[in-house]
């Protein structure tokens, strides 16, 4: 039995931050919707104090907006915000690529190869949800391999904001094909441990993803 670590239970507000962040990112809590403190407290079985602490933290992360004397709302995802966010994510991934080529273990690289190969299969099978899962795994694994907690923390906060753009799922087949090719190049650069190249490819990859997202949003707004 583990007796070495002093048992510390996470504080309520931390659990709430995690739970709420998840609910906001996965769309359970809709962008723009009010966050009613009272009913949420009842649902979660906590008092308003830790909930409000959690909301302050999430507001600082940009996931909720606090309106004075009017409570909290789930932040909306605007194209303007994404336009500002993606270049920053791209810059962080670029750095991650550079660092990962220096620091990744062979096992980490092997894992990314496995996931990339899986991704290629999901693409061939036209299984979008499995593809997105693999895609996310790869980017997370790269961050992990970069071995920089400050970098990965900032990345997490920004991608949680970007992930909320759920219309991202509607990218074109052309873009999807291109993304898979890009991922194969990423893998090659990583295996060659060519940091500058991997960094550049990653930055471009993310910016391309945003361009595709813009195009698909453009399309859907015309449809609607």
């Amino acid at each position: 039995m583990n007796i070495s670590t002093p048992l510390t239970r996470p504080s309520l507000h931390e659990e709430l931050v995690d739970r709420l962040r998840e609910a906001i990112v996965d769309g359970t809590m809709e962008p723009g919707s009010k966050v009613p403190e009272k009913s949420l407290c009842e649902t979660l079985g906590v008092s308003r104090t830790p909930l409000r602490e959690a909301l302050k933290v999430l507001a600082n992360e940009g996931l909720v907006v606090l309106e004075p004397n009017r409570g909290a709302r789930v932040a909306t995802v605007t194209m303007e915000e994404l336009e500002a966010t993606f270049p920053v994510i791209a810059a962080l991934e670029r750095l991650a690529g550079e660092l990962a080529c220096d620091k990744a273990t062979d096992a980490q690289i092997a894992h990314i190869r496995v996931r990339t190969e899986a991704m290629v299969r999901h693409h061939a099978d036209a299984d979008r949800s499995a593809y997105f899962k693999a895609n996310q795994d790869i980017h997370d694994a790269l961050m992990e391999a970069a071995d920089n907690p400050v970098l990965s923390q900032n990345y997490r906060v920004l991608s949680s904001r970007a992930k909320r753009a759920r219309f991202l799922a509607n990218i074109s087949q052309d873009r999807w094909d291109q993304a898979v090719r890009e991922h194969q190049e990423l893998l090659a650069a990583l295996e060659a441990r060519d940091g500058v190249r991997l960094g550049g490819l990653l930055q471009t990859h993310i910016l391309n993803k945003f361009a595709a997202l813009q195009a698909s949003a453009e399309g859907s707004s015309h449809e609607a």
Copy 2:
């Protein structure tokens, strides 16, 4: 009289976040020191609730550490943390440089020229504090010129953590001379609106700054 803006007073916790962040960054609250809620409340004239909300936010930013059932401490600045932080700051400044070359107004560039020239004078006068002020102005102005709120927000959080390394003031004369030369190159690249070049120079500039800081810390730890 202004009647167009609805008058909103900032909430207590926001004011506290700003006040405490400032106190932590400028060293008024020492790294590693306990944050006694009760006495701070009395000093600031608020109750514990908004203070605790502020501490949660600052903990999320990494400026304080919450120890369960033992309250908050001002986070210590370790060399490991700086080693992780500076590359991220460098990546963000690189992006800022790239964006600024696209988006800066001529007036913004002119302002950076003015501040760079002032910095050169302060260097010649060996006026360190005026030099640091000018240096900070220039980096802030570049961020401003990049015109990306997500970028500047993340930059602010990370620099507030880096700024706490006050021993940074003890850089060598050689490094100081070099930094001034680098700033002149930065200005040239900006005026040429050569984004790729400015980005690269900025990244190197920041990483050089960290290397100097490491060297000076190395020196002072041997002295001590």
